[in-house]
Symmetry: C2
Subunit: 295 residues, 2 copies
């Protein structure tokens, strides 16, 4: 077995993402020699010990990061500023501070200024997920064949970046480095906008008259079902993502609304060729996904 | 084995839906004693014979319905008027004419006037589907545990309606009778609008700059992937559905756009409570689906 990348990994937050990392690290042994876990509630920490996916749990984040050479923020992105303020003074020089947040400019804005000198901050985002949350929802295959995007700011210690790449590669992911603003635009279209739309259409359906709402549920088999699956995700996590990727999300939503208006117009005026063309694009993108094994 | 519901069932169109019905009818034997299949192309008919899911194939729809006591239209809804005109003169009195089209008011409008006296017209719609099409895509489990909605106009022969209900129940579906306009509204929100949105967002993504488009495909794992799956469906079928459920679809799209605008506003102004509330509704609807075993 290769040497572990880190001596002690502290995970702050242990939901779907954190507990998947913990499970993989426990199983492989070559990611960190020791795993310390912090969460907001004692209930989650008790569950972590029952599951046997940590060596130690700490309800105080400052205690959790003490002596760790890698600290990974795995809470909703809206909690990062507060967490960083609390752990900052307890991070030893040379520690690698990283995160798994779904937005990256906001994380650099919120966490960056609180990182002490000598601590290396490497923002990252594993592009993998399900609609489930909490310590029970994690599983070792989550990142297999998926991407983890790193968005280090220029001048970041190369060794620290390489270690976070090694960590994610050992989790089964491919890694790529991206400029933070570019990351946020791409994620706005592939993930944040689809979620916003799925939440919205569920709300639209929920607002229909009582009789129709029952039928929506009875006859959901076609199409709508997939939207509700996406929309079943954690409200706090998504609220934080939307508010922390505001600019890019609003831009993509604006483009989408214009396109939806154009579709409405085509339906109203019976422009069959336009409709077929838009539907064809969906198929084309789907085919590309299948070719790239992302479908 | 119970007596077959029909002596000779003619399927006009043999894609996902038609070929699923044919497979079930062949396997069970109690739906129709004989199955005759018609399609637009000889290629599909040849394939049907290879698959062994019909007793006989006919490239001329008029020949296919000759002597049939049940005729089921399984082509895209835009083709129904033409098909009905061609087969009308060849339908024997007492024949039950039915369809599987995803829109019902348009079918009644297009087919109704072409039904000869003494022929019983029973519009129906199985609420089940996948994104695949063609004679190879059908399978016997497709309708299992799903609903088939019947929208007969008042005064339709009760015996004919019961036979179509029996047919679908033997296909594994539950049946329900609905008023055609009500059907079209419910389907607009559970199926037609979700598909229109999925096609649209794929188009929006496809319009992004070249570099971003590649990344859309690379990082599609979260959220977007489900939209592309929905958007992979047949363009002609969906074009026909949109154009034939125009009013209800435009109404639902209008409601959705207003709700999306409200979400955009909440994101812009940081209205966390509003966003959380909308996300919660998604979860609530999802939970109802799971309780009703439609998830
Ligand atoms: N889920 C996805 O699809 C996905 C994909 C990629 C990246 N991400 C990102 O990964 C992060 C975690 O997501 P997840 O799905 O793993 O979340 P999750 O399952 O909801 O778990 C969140 C964890 O963070 C803790 N936490 C919540 N609020 C906190 C606070 N204010 N301060 C400290 N800890 C807090 C929770 O503690 P308790 O259990 O004690 O409440 C829990 O352990 C988010 O930043 C998200 O953007 C998610
Ligand atoms: N797919 C779904 O999810 C779903 C669910 C419920 C209801 N429906 C409804 O079921 C019907 C069929 O859908 P499907 O998915 O089974 O379609 P499909 O797989 O695309 O098959 C369509 C069939 O109709 C034939 N056809 C096409 N255009 C025709 C024309 N102009 N005249 C005569 N025949 C023609 C095709 O013949 P060739 O093979 O020779 O081209 C093919 O056999 C549609 O009305 C649809 O609205 C679909």
């Amino acid at each position: 077995m290769a040497d572990p990348v880190f001596k002690r990994l502290a995970l702050l937050g242990i939901g779907l993402i954190g507990s998947s990392v913990a499970r993989i690290a426990k199983q492989r042994g070559d990611i960190a020699a020791e795993i310390v876990v912090n969460a907001r509630t004692q209930k989650s920490l008790d569950r972590v010990m029952e599951l046997g996916i940590a060596d130690r749990v700490e309800i105080d984040p400052a205690m959790a990061v003490e002596g760790a050479d890698c600290v990974m923020l795995c809470a909703p992105v809206g909690a990062f500023a507060d967490l960083a303020a609390r752990i900052g003074p307890h991070l030893a020089p040379g520690t690698v501070l990283t995160d798994v947040g779904s937005t990256k400019q906001s994380v650099i804005r919120d966490v960056g200024p609180l990182v002490p000198a000598g601590v290396h901050f490497v923002p990252a985002h594993p592009i993998a997920g399900t609609e489930y949350s909490g310590p029970d929802s994690g599983f070792v295959e989550l990142f297999q064949g998926r991407w983890t995007l790193l968005t280090p700011i220029p001048g970041t210690d190369e060794e620290a970046v390489r270690k976070i790449e090694a960590l994610w590669q050992r989790c089964g992911a491919q890694t790529e480095r991206l400029e933070p603003a570019h990351h946020d635009r791409v994620l706005a279209i592939v993930s944040h906008l689809p979620h916003l739309i799925a939440f919205t259409i569920c709300g639209t359906a929920d607002d229909l008259a009582d009789e129709t709402r029952q039928e929506v549920i009875n006859y959901a088999a076609s199409g709508f079902r997939d939207f509700t699956r996406i929309a079943a995700s954690d409200p706090v996590m998504w609220r934080d993502i939307f508010l922390n990727n505001r600019e890019a999300l609003l831009e993509m939503l604006q483009r989408f609304m214009e396109d939806a208006q154009a579709m409405a117009r085509a339906v109203r005026w019976g422009d069959a060729a336009y409709i077929e063309d838009r539907v064809e694009r969906g198929r084309k993108i789907r085919r590309s996904l299948i070719e790239r094994k992302q479908a």
